[in-house]
């Protein structure tokens, strides 16, 4: 087994070393011999006359900080600088603790040419063995970039692959690699985005990535047991495989080492949290900037959350047609993303701030100031960059505040760091100073009286103002001083100050002074004294001297100006068009009176009937029902009521659809990638759809596990999933699964064989487990998610829902299942299902077909609108489906089309209600209005099968999720919010800066 670093002891050791050794480690505590002459500064500094923000909320004015050998020795008000210390007079400056970035990309894990070597993982995206400490490089540019934004310490997090390896805490000074690591390899990094440079075909979807994460964590657990079994047997059998990657995850699965997930959306945060909870790993999260959408979820969570400051550019609203295309989602994100840190702070959610995840690191401080302008207190901002990350990284004893005994990591700012125009002058890392911006050693601004001492002489007033690097001003010759220049006024549009040497250089047009040509003027400033000389167009070079009469007084520095108006944007979910402040409430009882009720159950269609729903379930359909007092009453006169419609095949509402990396992927789950940011759901509700099966794509003979959802608009993904034991898996036959090049299968023959072979493999897997459980001999078998899913298929616990078109391929699958003693649950698409209707009926396979799709590809050419009719005549359970986000929003009309094939009205409607529920085995809960079933129903303004009818209300779980009246209110609100936000964008752009929150 791979020898592993012992985390705890090394951690302690490294800190001790540092505190004892300090910056200029001597030979006694450093291994590398000094070549040539030693270079030893005193390492003894005193920062005087400085305002010190020691910690958030703790400020000392006019203080002195004494640093010796990298450690803060003293912080005191009005303290004397000790003799022997180098004095740094920092009057007018503020010193903060150096920032700590808890999720920094220091770029030390570039993929080696030719790929990784050694017993790594079979999947190149699993690089858990990668150590940032072992691979520490000279990344001086990235360190300098981080220092320029105030950082002195960072958790270097690897970024390649899915399991990315271990992150180490390093200081950002320029000491050699052996002196940079503070805490080696303390955390495992995991991300949802694979690295294409690493190669490999699987996974290429979010659900595949999630499955790989889970399988790998399980494998890491197995790896320990496998090696233990091998070692404890006295090595009496063949050893298990060696995997650096699985070995590296040992302390993660045992709960010792945390994992940091990099997330790029609110959904990814939820997914990462679900994985961490399932496997009991200690999780940290690199946030996405969308945290403001999850404040309610995050409120009680205490896991480390590290958020980026990547604020979006404003949507384009430059002309009316462009404005027409600006979505509320983008406008809201533009406005609200900069408030995300403030919202986290207000909700008491612990968070750190990282400079990671920005398109340019130079945006970090400006965006930090925007976050402050948008409500984040300076103290909270500072804590998120110092004390909070220090605590999480185990550095509280040494980092995060300015106190005696702590490491001298400091940030020197001219001005309040969190305000406009403040500049970081220096960053101190472990007692060594790094210039960030050069302070002006002279400030020539102000009013000078200058006089020429030679015969050319004059008496003049020189005023200089503006930023030091772009001075401007004027030269006014006093009246009566000379005859020649009397009263001349020269505007100086640009002057340069050279800070290091105290020189200013000015050029101006000589016309005002009566010369043809340019006057050159140079001056040396020292304090308030000035000596200069000029070069005149006539060849003379008179000199002059002067003294400063008045200091320059510029505009006062203040908080970053808010140049977005204060808008009241209520919290909505999803944070987009038609989002709602909460899911609708559930009345105790709802009764629909006097309607035509299509029960789709044994009661058939009833005229002038009542429907009673209580606590979200159907109680009764009948005439003149007694309803409890206080029931919500709906007048159904002239209305039709049907069960909520069901579509057993859609692809909207998930973040990715196809895991095409392998031909066989039943281990992936669409339930892992459900998203609530899906406006289709609202539209589908508006069309009367209440339940749908979201299917995996069709790239694989055996695809992933589908997810059945209810259209709970306004809920989070886990609440959208239907509460049912029914599980189905996607199979795909025909053209699609063989379309992928260089991947078996290439033919329909191969498709059947690869399925069969995996059925057999699953039986072998089962046998191996059984035999090990009986004998406990040899290497314990591992839990294989893929094999277990296939076993579930064979045991008919994971029901097959197979994509396909032609009769031949379906018949082959039906027979294959029979060979393994089980039944295919449903065929989907089934363009040619009608050709094998009797065989399907005999085998008990349901058919899920289109009303009138066909002709769009070769295998769809024999389409007929009579498909459903033939199937139903043969006794096959027959449902319609859309396979289309949009058509799912009008399934009643899809059913209506079947009237033209001779079906009765109730038969037609059954293909989008009760038969749909039966087809995917959820008819115990939905599909008809029968007692005990879910209170999902639709109120229509006429016959639901008519092209002239529209839905008016859609109820789900006894809650009214859609009504045309409320829809109109939402539209008004959207219109109002959009116009206010568009105005906000315009006013921010008329102001000083292009970004949200101003500058």
């Amino acid at each position: 087994m791979r020898p592993r670093l012992h985390q705890t002891s090394l951690f302690g050791l490294s800190l001790t070393l540092l505190i004892a050794g300090g910056l200029n480690a001597q030979q006694a505590t450093r291994t590398q011999p000094v070549e040539g002459i030693r270079d030893n500064g005193t390492g003894y500094h005193a920062l005087t006359n400085v305002r010190v923000v020691q910690a958030p909320g703790k400020v000392l004015d006019n203080a002195t900080i004494v640093i010796r050998d990298g450690i803060i020795k003293e912080v005191s008000r009005d303290g004397e600088a000790p003799a022997g210390a180098r004095i740094w007079d920092l009057s007018g400056h503020t010193v903060y603790p150096g920032f700590i970035d808890a999720h920094a990309d220091l770029g030390m894990d570039a993929v080696p040419e030719g790929g990784d070597v050694g017993p790594t993982h079979w999947n190149p995206q699993v690089r858990a063995w990668f150590s940032t400490t072992a691979n520490l490089q000279d990344d001086s540019q990235r360190r300098a970039a981080l220092r320029s934004q105030g950082f002195g310490t960072a958790l270097a997090v690897p970024g390649q692959g899915i399991f990315r390896g271990t992150g180490s805490v390093v200081n950002l000074g320029d000491a050699g690699v052996r002196e940079r690591v503070l805490v080696p390899d303390m955390i495992q990094a995991i991300g949802f985005q694979r690295s294409f440079e690493l190669g490999g075909s699987y996974p290429n979807s979010t659900m595949g990535t999630t499955a790989l994460m889970k399988q790998t964590l399980m494998d890491a657990d197995w790896y320990i047991r496998a090696w233990d079994a091998y070692e404890s047997s006295g090595r009496s059998f063949l050893p298990p495989e060696t995997s650096e990657a699985l070995g590296a995850l040992e302390s993660v699965v045992q709960g010792g080492q945390p994992v940091v997930f990099e997330t790029s959306s609110e959904e990814e945060y939820l997914r990462a949290h679900a994985i961490a909870s399932e496997f009991g790993v200690q999780a940290w999260y690199r946030g996405s900037g969308q945290e403001y959408r999850l404040i309610d979820v995050l409120r009680d969570r205490r896991d480390p959350l590290i958020v980026p400051l990547d604020f979006p550019d404003a949507p384009d609203v430059t002309d009316p047609e462009a404005a027409l295309n600006a979505t509320l989602q983008d406008l809201r994100h533009w406005y609200l993303a900069p408030t995300s840190p403030a919202q986290l702070a207000d909700a008491g959610i612990p968070f750190a701030i990282t400079a990671d995840g920005m398109s340019s690191i130079n945006d970090f401080l400006p965006n930090l100031r925007i976050a402050v302008a948008r409500g984040l207190s300076s103290d909270d901002a500072l804590a998120a960059l110092t004390t909070t990350p220090a605590r999480w990284l185990g550095l509280s004893r040494s980092h995060g505040t300015i106190e005696e005994g702590k490491i001298a990591n400091l940030l020197v700012s001219e001005g309040d760091l969190f305000t406009q125009d403040a500049e970081i002058r220096d960053v101190w890392v472990q007692g060594r100073v790094y210039d960030i911006t050069r302070p002006a050693q002279i400030d020539p601004r102000g009013t000078w009286r200058i006089t020429s001492t030679d015969e050319w002489g004059f008496d003049a007033i020189l005023t200089l103002e503006g930023p030091v690097n772009r001075l401007r001003g004027q030269l006014e010759v006093a009246a009566g001083s000379t005859t020649r220049f009397d009263g001349a006024l020269v505007n100086i549009s640009s002057a340069e100050a050279v800070a290091e040497t105290g020189r200013i250089e000015v050029r101006f047009d000589g016309e005002e002074l009566g010369y043809q040509g340019t006057v050159l003027l140079a001056g040396s400033v020292r304090g308030d004294e000035f000596f200069g000389w000029t070069s005149l167009p006539n060849g003379a070079d008179p000199s002059f001297s002067g003294s400063r009469e008045d200091e320059y007084e510029g505009p006062e520095r203040g908080a970053v100006a808010m140049n977005v108006p204060e808008l009241d944007l209520p919290f909505i979910r999803p944070m987009m068009e038609y989002g709602v402040s909460s899911i609708p409430e559930q009345p105790d009882a709802v009764v629909v009176r006097n309607a035509t009720i299509w029960t789709m159950g044994p009661q058939g269609r009833m005229e002038n009937a009542d429907l009673l729903i209580q606590n979200g379930e159907v109680v009764e359909v009948g005439m003149n029902l007694d309803a409890p007092r206080g029931s919500v009453e709906i007048d159904g006169t002239d209305k039709h009521v049907t069960p909520g419609l069901i579509d057993p095949h859609i692809h909207s509402g998930v973040s990715s659809v196809n895991e095409s990396g392998f031909a066989i992927v039943p281990e992936v789950r669409m339930g892992d990638v459900v998203t609530h940011n899906n406006v289709w759901m609202y539209r589908q509700l508006a069309g009367g759809l209440t339940t749908a099966m979201i299917k995996h794509g069709s790239a694989n003979p055996i695809g992933g596990e589908n997810v059945i959802v209810k259209m709970r608009w306004g809920a989070l993904p886990d609440q959208i999933e239907m509460d049912t034991d029914t599980r189905t898996v996607k199979f795909a036959l025909g053209e699609n699964p063989k379309r992928r090049q260089n991947r078996y299968p290439d033919t329909r023959m191969g498709t059947q064989e690869i399925i069969r072979d995996h059925f057999l493999a699953a039986r072998d897997y089962e046998r191996d487990w059984r035999s090990w459980e009986e004998n406990q001999e040899g290497i314990p078998p591992r839990r294989d998610m893929r094999m277990e899913a296939i076993l579930d298929i064979l045991n008919q616990e994971l029901l097959i829902s197979s994509h396909g078109y032609r009769a031949d391929e379906f018949l082959a699958l039906v027979r294959l299942a029979e060979e393994f003693d089980f039944r295919v649950q449903t065929l989907q698409h089934g363009i040619e299902a009608y050709k094998i209707a009797p065989e399907l009926a005999q085998s008990g396979v349901a058919a899920v077909v289109w009303s009138d799709w066909g002709g769009f590809k070769m295998e769809a050419y024999d389409a007929t609108a009579y498909n459903a009719r033939v199937l139903m005549e043969a006794g096959v359970t027959t449902s319609l489906h859309s396979d289309n986000s949009e058509i799912a929003s009008r399934m009643n009309w899809e059913a209506g089309k079947l009237l033209r094939t001779g079906l009765t009205e109730e038969q037609a409607l059954s293909t989008v209600t009760i038969q749909s529920a039966r087809a995917i085995a959820i008819d115990d809960r939905v599909g008809s209005l029968e007692p005990g079933k879910d209170g999902d129903f639709v109120v229509w303004n006429g016959n639901p099968l008519s092209q002239f009818t529209r839905p008016e209300q859609t109820w789900l779980d006894g809650r009214r999720y859609f009504s045309i009246d409320e829809d109109m209110e939402l539209r008004e609100r959207i219109k109002d919010e959009r116009s206010r936000l568009i105005q906000a964008v315009l006013s921010s752009q008329n102001g000083n800066g292009p970004r949200a929150g101003g500058e």
Partner: protein, 442 residues
Amino acid sequence: MMNIKNSMKVSVIAAIVLPMALNGQVRMTVPPQAEAIAIEGATIHTVTNGVIEGGTIIFNNGVITSIGANLEIPAGTRVVDGGGKHIYPGLIDAYSTVGISEIGAVGVSNDVNELGDFNPNVRADVAVNAESRHIGTSRSAGVLVAFSTPGGGLISGMSSALSLEGWSWEEMSMESSAALNVNWPNPNPRRFRGFGGRGGPQEPPPSYEEQVQALKNFFSEARAYRNAIAADEEVRTDSRYAAMVSVLDGKIPVVVAADGAAQINDAVTWALEEDVEIVIRGGADAIHVADRLVAHDIPVILTSTMAAPGRDYEGYDGAYTMPARLHEAGVRFAISGGSGSLYTNRLPWEAGVAVAFGLPEDEALKAVTINAAEFMGVADRVGSLEVGKQATFLITTGTPLDMTSDIEQSYIQGREIDMMDIQKFFFEKYMTKVMQYLRIVM
């Protein structure tokens, strides 16, 4: 032929008698009308002259000879009882690829997009496969006239008006060059990424402005060509410019595909400058430009009424209500099938949905009959039931725009057409299989 409607119910399946005369015949083309026919006692929806209850329609040699209530029926006229039935003009799909596109994903079965930016000389009709399966299914849905339309480039070519009955394209073609099709460029193309694909660095596509200028140049050259010919100048022949003459002379319209508000506005400005007769096709944002369209009396062919809204904030019914909103604003419009030949049979639903969302039913009917005929220049022959127009109509149990009614028989240019199509053929064939199976299991 079996009577499909109510022929059987699932529970009484054994009672079915299936016709055993299946001979592989999907649909037979019938000869031209040989005798005068009168259909009497029907509710006749003329579209242009109201509804005639208990009306009679008489037609001979493919043309309507009289229409009205209490007509005297000339001797020698075959009389058909239309009692309880409705008669509607055949529906017209103003934008289709019927006959020139067969199987979407099978490239070689599609003849829609010719190479190059300027193809005014290509005409759809010469490429129409009279045996296309989609012709039969379109007719079964009540679509009896369709404008098969080339696509691609800036100028795609000429739409041809097709009457959906005939042994060959030649018999079917009503108007070979019915309208010129222009694809208005997109002012907001997706951001170009020069190094995006496998092909390495790529030339950026021409800008919006460049494409508009190219279109203007082409029209200017074409106009110069026409003027030179008119002045009897000797010029070298150019089949593309020659094809433009009828457009420039205002004899046929220019159908401009444009959806966005900026596109429509710019297309209108262009057409006014070019002084051509313009019809906007697509028109997703037409409501934002409604006043201008009304001011210049520019009609719109809507291609996607049965559709989701184009923007997230728009109402779920944004496309459904578009016809009603345009009607209210006074914009003239037709509704087309929108998605090509495969689904020309969905044309009635594209119009019907507008009725569910506020458009008066008679306006919806106009949008798929007379309006389409007028915009595309064939209103002298089809689009309404009037004396002198072609006897191209439907006998139904109710409006063809709703699936709750059935189309029982259609006439095209007086021919009583075979109502069989490939979909019904498969139904009959495989119902035979079901019957055989049920006899075994019962």
